[in-house]
Symmetry: C2
Subunit: 136 residues, 2 copies
């Protein structure tokens, strides 16, 4: 994934066995795993990994912007590799997370911030919905 490992070593991080495993787990994830989930997947590859290391690593990666931390309306965080910018729609029934992008939205939020006299540094947009049932 645009070599995560490389970006870490370039940043001066030691490439320990644990970090390699965690990076691999993140790179291969097609969902938005929680710390617990990353931990379980990592443990499957190296059973000695502790959850403290997972927390520490994810925090590091977040600070380096290699990873994006999401705090949906749940009481824990989820992570994903920081690739393209997008937003999320959370299916309230299944918990499934759907990604989407929208150009109008990008413009709009920038414009709103500017009109209020602010530079937009960060933002958060999440939609929570229920699948529309087709009538038969």
């Amino acid at each position: 994934m645009t070599d995560l490992v490389e970006r870490c070593t370039n940043a001066g991080l030691k490439m320990t066995g644990q970090r390699k495993v965690i990076l691999r787990v993140l790179g291969e994830a097609e969902d938005h795993p929680s710390v617990e989930t990353v931990y379980e997947r990592a443990k499957a590859q190296d059973s000695s990994i502790s959850i403290a290391t997972v927390y520490r690593t994810l925090n590091l990666l977040d600070e380096m912007d290699l990873v994006v931390r999401h705090e949906f309306k749940e009481n824990f965080s989820r992570y994903e590799v920081n690739m393209d910018h997008h937003h999320h729609l959370i299916d309230l029934e299944s918990g499934e997370v759907i990604e989407f992008q929208n150009e109008d939205l990008e413009e709009l939020k920038e414009r709103i911030a500017n009109e209020l006299g602010y530079d937009l540094i960060d933002h958060r947009l999440e939609l929570y919905g229920r699948k529309i049932k087709k009538k038969k």
Copy 2:
């Protein structure tokens, strides 16, 4: 505030002294107080109030939709009386919370959800910015 007390008693809640105080604190708040802040303000009016009651009351009010719970990028919740619908821009330097409304945005998020095959039930939009310094 469109009588919070009345809306509570109508819903069958007992109007205890503690609840009156908490409702008054919420009604008078012009900011987005945390549980801790609501607790402190309430305690100033009735020192016997416990924080457990504040938590319980805010949860009740949230379920009844009398209040809106916000979880900005902080590790605690903030509350405000549910009046008009709006969004928030958080000043990353001062922590100040600025409210705004935007019609285009309302349409857009509805449209995005529908295009993805979802009924929009809830959402969250927060902007995080830094005040633009005028050049002299």
